[in-house]
């Protein structure tokens, strides 16, 4: 039920991405991780900036992923 343990010793960049085909504008991402997501003029989720997740925001990012009712958010590891 919790978000579990997450790595803090990461070497690669973690990035969030919204699949616009799936997003229906529930807004859970920008409720839970307002530093990473915003809403467009119709309420659909938008990734702010380049989507790179600062280490201290990784928990928020994970919460956004796990609470999206449409499974529209992905956490990508790059690097």
């Amino acid at each position: 039920m919790g978000v579990g343990r997450y790595r803090t010793d990461r070497n690669s960049a973690v990035k969030v991405q919204i699949n616009p085909e799936c997003c229906q504008g529930h807004g859970r991402c920008y409720d839970l991780a307002p530093g990473l997501f915003g809403e467009d003029d119709e309420g659909y989720g938008q990734v702010l900036g380049d989507g790179i997740v600062p280490q201290e925001a990784e928990r928020d990012a994970r919460l956004a992923v796990l609470n999206c009712p449409e499974h529209a958010i992905e956490l990508l590891e790059e690097g």
Partner: protein
């Protein structure tokens, strides 16, 4: 000023759809077996549908009924989600499961777009409403909502027992939607009548229903005329002026959308606020925890939405097909129970428990797919503010041991009387 002749009386076709559709024999009375004869209109269901749904999920999991001209009730999250996503095979032409099916020609627009619409029209109708209901836009309503909640609590001062459903929860969405549409705030009681008429009058004779529907549309037309005479910065004026495919909306689309906002926005939020207060009134541990830690409310609120999801939708099967183990026929109803999906143990740990710090909560209270509740941001604002103000002003309350809690019948579930002791 040019006369907008879209809204003259002659152009009105109000109530006609109610006369053109198909009707079936009305069957009421005790349910013999919930797996083969379910009815969401029987008192047993209203009182406590969850054990029924849990049982069906284990043994069916898609229940059948011959009532309402035939229908199905999926109870697993997976099936509910699949139907919500499959707009090719399940139509939203009717979303209230009753003994009446509106004419097929009504698709893809339906009687109250966009909730009653199918693709491709759905997208365009919905697009018109979305900008008015973003989180940012509804935040503009928050200060007035908060002040209104405080004024409601002020009016309860000095009382020992109050009805939290009738005297608090109910008034909040009524006031908010009246503000947004630009209707006179004193018309609140009339809105509530309209909502009851449409949502709870399902088994009334057709003529009665037509009359009830016409009353609502007459009222809406009056409001449209007032806004035509005197345009203002509100949703009604917006709907009158907004253009789709290069022209303004047909009158029945304008009044249909207004009716939808009025009806969909009231019973639903009222139910969510009421059910949350009901839970807190009977669960001192959770109440005390939220009073001590108001920062937990946004998470707790999602759990209340999951476990007491007020809204069940309906769909109509488009053509005969074998679907997930059952033989569906064209025009069969689907009772699309988001509440049942939200308690599926395959999807949620401790699905039947209320866990107010549940961090991962992928519930479907506002639906899934293209019909996600357009007012969900508004509903969340109302629910959060209503609970914040109540807990701040009345931190100690409990169910009145002499009172009776009653629940609404039909597809919107919430307490309709909720006597609580506050003194």
């Amino acid at each position: 000023m040019a006369v907008d002749d879209r809204f003259t009386r002659d152009s009105r076709e109000t109530g006609e759809d109610e006369l053109r559709g198909t009707r079936n024999e009305i069957i009421t009375g005790p349910v013999r077996d919930w797996a083969t004869d379910f009815s969401h209109l029987e008192p047993e269901w209203s009182a406590d549908p969850y054990p029924i749904q849990d049982d069906l999920r284990q043994r069916c999991p898609i229940a059948r009924t011959e009532r309402f001209g035939g229908g199905w009730l999926p109870t697993r999250y997976e099936d509910v989600a699949a139907i919500a996503y499959d707009t090719d095979r399940f139509s939203s032409r009717a979303i209230i499961m009753s003994n009446f099916r509106p004419p097929i020609e009504l698709a893809p627009v339906g009687g109250s777009p966009p909730i009653s619409s199918d693709p491709p029209f759905h997208h365009d109708a919905r697009k018109l409403l979305l900008p008015a209901f973003t989180k940012k836009e509804v935040a503009r309503q928050e200060p007035a909502t908060r002040a209104f909640c405080h004024s409601l609590i002020d009016s309860l001062q000095g009382r020992d027992v109050v009805d939290a459903a009738q005297e608090y929860a109910q008034h909040i969405p009524v006031r908010v939607i009246a503000n947004m549409l630009g209707f006179p705030p004193e018309d609140g009681p009339r809105f509530r009548e309209f909502v009851e008429d449409l949502l709870e009058g399902i088994n009334l004779p057709p003529d009665d229903r037509v009359e009830r529907v016409s009353r609502l549309f007459e009222y809406l037309l009056e409001q449209v005329h007032e806004h035509l005479d005197e345009p203002r910065d509100d949703l009604t004026t917006y709907l009158i002026n907004v253009e789709l495919y290069g022209r303004k909306l047909d009158p029945e689309v304008v009044t249909g959308a207004m009716a939808l906002l009025l009806i969909a926005g009231i019973d639903t939020s009222w139910s969510a606020i009421g059910a949350s207060l009901w839970h807190l009134a009977k669960t001192p541990g959770d109440r005390e925890r939220l009073v001590a830690d108001p920062g937990l409310l946004p998470i707790a609120m999602e759990e209340f939405l999951r476990v007491y999801a007020p809204v069940t939708m309906a769909r109509l099967v488009k053509q005969d097909m074998h679907w997930h183990g059952v033989d569906m026929k064209a025009e069969d109803w689907i009772l699309l129970s988001f509440p049942a999906a939200n308690r599926d143990p395959v999807q949620f740990d401790r699905a039947g428990e209320v866990v107010i710090d549940r961090e991962v909560n992928r519930h479907a209270a506002f639906g899934l797919g293209i019909h996600r509740c357009v007012g969900s941001h508004l509903a969340r604002m109302e629910l959060r503010v209503a609970l914040e103000v109540w807990l701040e002003r009345i931190p100690e309350f409990a169910l009145d041991e002499l009172g009776v809690v009653t629940w609404s019948a039909g597809q919107i579930r919430g307490p309709r009387t909720l006597p609580v002791r506050i003194g």
